[in-house]
Symmetry: C2
Subunit: 318 residues, 2 copies
């Protein structure tokens, strides 16, 4: 069977949900099974094995690709760092071995942001662009980087941790990684809300806009601010501009370092971006080389599709 027609099973293991489906020619051809992520490592393994059993018996995939939160080693065989979003012991379960043993089907693991970037590169917004980056702006900030058509892996598989580009030397805000002022601490959804609270708390009560007056500023959310913007509230617009500046800083770094054809933005926060406006802002700030910021198109299933396509590619080599 040619590489193009092979079927692979793609599995996406995130902190909230586990989803899986079969993929052929870059498209999902099966139902998508979705589960809440169990609270124990053993529970995750069982869920993955059960879902796999259902899809394997129906579609007989030739390989399996797993997109997972956390860093994966360069050989794509195991998770090398746990993330706060997944239960203790998760990195100790040997997903690849368990699946291969039970289903006799070759399996690889890939970091979820890398898998999503691979999907955008193969079938999504950046299709055919040999140098492209996908940034996931969600609860955190993740990234996958394609260099000359291949995922950037680094010495140990931990490359593309773009969320930890520092934005300031002033140690203003600590990041979940322990360091200070990382891109993720400002450009993520979490960072957006923190900026809003910080900026709001500095405004004396009597100067707060109508919109802010009835809010508990210590509990402002991203959605509060977005709805304020829709009402034309100037404070909310200011928060959003501050956030865009933080987003821009990382994009300027990546443009100057990688000279990519495009940077694709995905994740929950990407929908609050005016891409024309952001492209104009970036163009003004990048004086050595230009790039184009694009909206992701592989969607919520980018992890499944990317992991499946990586599996097809890897295991048809041998």
């Amino acid at each position: 069977m040619s590489e193009n027609n092979r079927i692979a099973l793609g599995i996406d293991i995130g902190g909230t949900k586990i989803s899986m489906a079969c993929v052929q020619n870059g498209e999902i051809i099966s139902q998508i099974l979705t589960y809440n992520t169990p609270k124990s490592a053993k529970g995750i393994l069982e869920t993955v094995l059960n879902g796999t059993e259902a899809l394997v018996s129906e579609f007989a995939p030739t390989s399996i690709g797993i997109a997972t939160a956390g860093a994966v080693n360069r050989e794509n065989t195991k998770v090398i760092s746990s993330t706060g979003n997944l239960p203790n012991g998760y990195s100790d379960i040997n997903l690849k071995e368990e699946i291969e043993k039970k289903f006799n089907t070759k399996t690889l693991l890939e970091n979820d942001a890398n898998a999503a970037a691979y999907a955008e590169f193969k079938v999504g917004a950046a299709k055919g662009q040999m140098n492209t980056i996908t940034i996931t702006l969600g609860t955190g900030v993740g990234g996958g980087i394609i260099v000359d058509g291949k995922l950037l892996r680094g010495k140990s598989g931990a490359a593309a941790e773009v969320g930890h580009i520092p934005l300031s030397w002033e140690k203003k805000r600590q990041c979940t990684c322990g360091d200070w002022d990382c891109w993720e601490a400002y450009a993520s959804g979490t960072g957006y809300a923190i900026t809003a609270r910080e900026m709001a708390s500095k405004i004396p009560l009597e100067y707060r806009s109508e919109f802010l007056k009835d809010k508990n500023v210590d509990k402002l959310t991203t959605h509060d601010i977005i709805s304020g913007i829709k009402q034309g509230d100037e404070f909310c617009i200011k928060i959003h501009e501050a956030w865009l500046e933080f987003v821009l800083m990382g994009l300027i770094s990546l443009t100057n370092v990688f000279d990519p054809e495009s940077i694709v933005l995905s994740g929950g926060m990407a929908k609050f971006i005016d891409f024309d406006d952001l492209n104009k802002k970036l163009d003004k700030r990048c004086n050595i080389t230009k790039t184009r910021i694009m909206n992701a198109s592989a969607g919520n299933n980018a992890g499944i599709i990317g992991a499946a396509m990586l599996a097809i590619e890897k295991f048809s080599e041998s």
Copy 2:
């Protein structure tokens, strides 16, 4: 002749000097010809042709590699951006064509920071490390990045412009590129002196240390500060620590983005670095993956050696 024994001519064209020599097995085997860089593009071409003639007639290199200031296109055939350090019209002279016509020897161009990085990777401090970065801390900040044994080029050859990673959103210091607060504006020798002048001018006259009292603070140089450190002056030590923090920020970015085995520091400012201390500081700040900061070892001739080795490699493929 095997690739290993081929001789190539390496030429390094910088803003101050042009130097060239023949290279075999990663070592310089001829005298090194050195010229002051002429003030006109035509003068540069003549100087390069004359020097080449002398070395070609004696060593009969099988190919020629030119390391040049400015970005070079992805095909390694021409300079695509002039730099302030080279005369107007420099990017319009077709060095490759002129040399190939006159000497019937295949020629390529490469950005000088890329060539230096390639030399460190092939025969220098990072020998054999497939993922390594070389940063030149000089008047500016340049970089060359090796990913899986190959130079990172980007879509147009302009990748690795690491000097333009932004360090702050506060628009405190404009960079020569037009944008604000680039790494180069702080971590370069020029940036070091600016930081010293800014910090010194904020200290009221009566609080200035003995060391500073007889200095014109608006004309402080890097060497003033370094000599102050040797005398144990606390202000100078503070400047140096501030500079190290700026240097660190870029290194943290590159570590998290590339997960490299090493980052090699070269250039005039690298000699003011205590590598053990810097490695300790970096280790504390990088919580996802680690790298090792090393002193460059290919030395002043890294550009010549790197360009020559790239030429040997490229033209023995065909």
